[in-house]
Symmetry: C2
Subunit: 395 residues, 2 copies
């Protein structure tokens, strides 16, 4: 039975609660296993071994080799390292390869990184998206210049609307034109099967805190044989690709999160799809003038993205919060800035569609009972906001 | 009373155990306060407030304003961000400022960073050190070119031998020549009073896990009014200087570590000096052909650095480890690489002096009882190794 006073947390795309089993694995590395992994003594070796065990677990989740995993401080750093690291290195070897291609609906950490590259003389192009939030392989073909492309970066799942991209096809096209392919898989791992060999990507970014692991840790998959320039230099940790004393307890927690995600993948996926579809059905059924965005096909299991016409998304989030329901208008990273979502704008949404947006993102810890409790509250808030809005009913 | 079976941990310059009070403050942020600090709802706001509280505590330890603190994933990233961020920015504004000066005894994260800058066309110069591990202001004056210097970076305390540098004087000289001054204070904070206003530095790097906080978190002090180019771009966290979802529990732990370090600074310093001097006295007294390196004046309270002639430092570390004593030959970061210390080489040490080195670094959790237990073991190991070494007694 659900505790009716308990917070209903529908913001799992922003961050997830730690699973108790993960906290339990972390604690010894906070309490007694405090050695620096580079130290030669027993405490140091134990820390080092813990990292290597976690590395095996992370690799296993995405079908890579252990040596292909570079631990970072999170998904944002992984995206920065992937894109800056590869393009800077390639450019030193072949100054002609100055073109970087990405989509207009990437996470801020990819868009920010390509902006940095642009300042340094790289030529950045954007593949447009459909109204459904899809990046079409044909569009990439039209954008990609032969012999000049260094890197294409397209996310596996979008973080706001949850659309899945045809990464395997996009990677094949990129390779055909001589470029390397990176995908931001932060929202995808643990929710759908992700296999780097099957996708044939060269680089893939991951984050721990989106899959019930701790914050402050992530990883980059770098295909064997490829090299990149580090963005953080120093003691030579992580095969010289990322220096700095390793966040041992964080890495241990991330490893455990990957192991759990891996072992329960099918079960979790089925549960999340059931929850999401139950939520979508009842929202659309109970709340007039509401719309679910993007098709249910090609979508990550845990994200549902709605537009409630005549309502401001931020008012909705604030009112839901007053009622103990945690939700989001879109990306947590940009929500503080209170600017309209670049993803929805790129998808061609109108002002009313953008401002009336609400993202509800589930995890395996959510229940149908929570959805049953949340929907009447949401319906009431939407009705109340509309009754007081000058924009009500404006489509 | 000391537990005679307990590990004796004399490698606190590599990493320190978490204090229980710090673990207690961290736990709620692993267990229940899992909101993304950028989320607008209550859980998000709580995480945000926790970060701001920690920021105040970190600022307070070094006498800075709260807004002058940028959280990073550790000391290595702080050094990279400081040096790359400032020089890249200054260079865009004034391409003539292409000179970066540092010392030859800096941490690998500073040396690695200036190497990266060199690849990008910066002119890097090194100030030499005395045999005592001191950087003399006069030497900086001779090295610094007028109107061309962008940044000088000299550490506050060396991580291997523990020498303190005259940072206030070095910063004043740098400013006189129109450059900015950065100091790596990773080994210094919490052990000696550090005040950014009194030192008049422009940037200062810190790390959590050297002062009994968790690994995976650090900070950069950036003087108000100065700007730098981020090395990790994205959602705009940390005033746009360092993007990525914040390592909330890590930052909370670091904040608590700073608060404790601040409130117990004088007491800790007195304890550490007493322990260190007791250790030095008894090592020199009990072990022939041993030497303590660098003068005791101008030295960080917690590091004692010895040379035992006719012994290999690594053998010593391994044998001590077998007896439950954790020690180091020098920097943990480079110890895995098994290369001779660049610090000792730069100080002009002979081969025998370098290879016979041992660093014993204390924390407030160590006791005189541990020293009493360790010294006979150390004496026996040194005697045993010497009896089997072809280099024995070679000065």
């Amino acid at each position: 039975m659900d505790d009716i006073n308990k917070l209903i947390y529908f913001d799992n795309a922003a961050s997830t609660p730690l699973l108790d089993e993960i906290t339990s694995e972390i604690l010894p590395y906070l309490r007694s296993h405090y050695g620096n992994p580079s130290s030669l003594h027993r405490l140091g070796r134990e820390s080092f071994q813990a990292i290597e065990k976690a590395r095996t677990r992370v690799a296993s989740l995405i079908g890579s080799k252990k040596k292909e995993i570079i631990f970072t401080s999170g998904g944002t750093e992984a995206n920065n390292l992937a894109i800056k690291g590869i393009t800077n290195r390639l450019n030193r070897l072949n100054p002609k390869r100055k073109c970087v291609i990405t989509s207009s609906i990437e996470h801020e950490s990819v868009l920010g990184t390509v902006k940095d590259l642009e300042k340094n003389g790289f030529n950045v192009r954007f593949v447009p998206t459909t109204l459904n939030g899809q990046i079409e392989p044909e569009c990439l073909k039209k954008t990609i210049p032969s012999n000049e492309v260094a890197l294409v970066s397209v996310m596996l799942s979008n973080n706001e609307v949850g659309t899945l991209q045809p990464v395997k096809e996009l990677a094949a096209i990129t390779h055909h034109y001589g470029g390397l392919f990176h995908t931001d898989a932060v929202q995808a791992i643990g929710k759908i099967p992700v296999d780097v060999k099957q996708l044939d990507v060269d680089l893939l970014s991951m984050s721990s805190h989106k899959i019930h692991g701790p914050k402050g840790v992530g990883a980059l998959y770098l295909k064997r044989g490829l090299m990149l320039d580090p963005i953080v230099s120093g003691g030579g940790q992580e095969s010289d690709f990322r220096s700095g004393t390793e966040n041992v307890h964080g890495i241990v927690g991330f490893g455990k999160a990957c192991e759990i995600a891996s072992s329960r993948l099918e079960e979790s996926r089925a549960l999340l799809i059931a929850l999401r579809d139950y939520l979508i059905f009842h929202v659309l059924d109970k709340i007039p003038d509401s719309r679910v965005n993007c098709s249910t096909e090609n979508r990550i299991p845990n994200i549902a993205h709605f537009t409630f016409f005549g309502v401001q998304g931020e008012d909705l989030v604030n009112k839901l919060d007053e009622h103990g329901i945690a939700a989001s208008t879109g990306s947590a990273c940009s929500s503080k800035h209170q600017k309209p979502s670049h993803v929805l704008k790129a998808m061609g949404f109108s002002y009313a569609e953008v401002t009336g947006s609400l993202r509800l993102s589930m995890s395996i810890l959510n229940t149908k009972g929570e959805i049953d409790r949340a929907i009447p509250i949401l319906a009431e808030i939407v009705a109340d906001l509309r009754s007081r809005s000058p924009f009500a009913k404006s489509k």
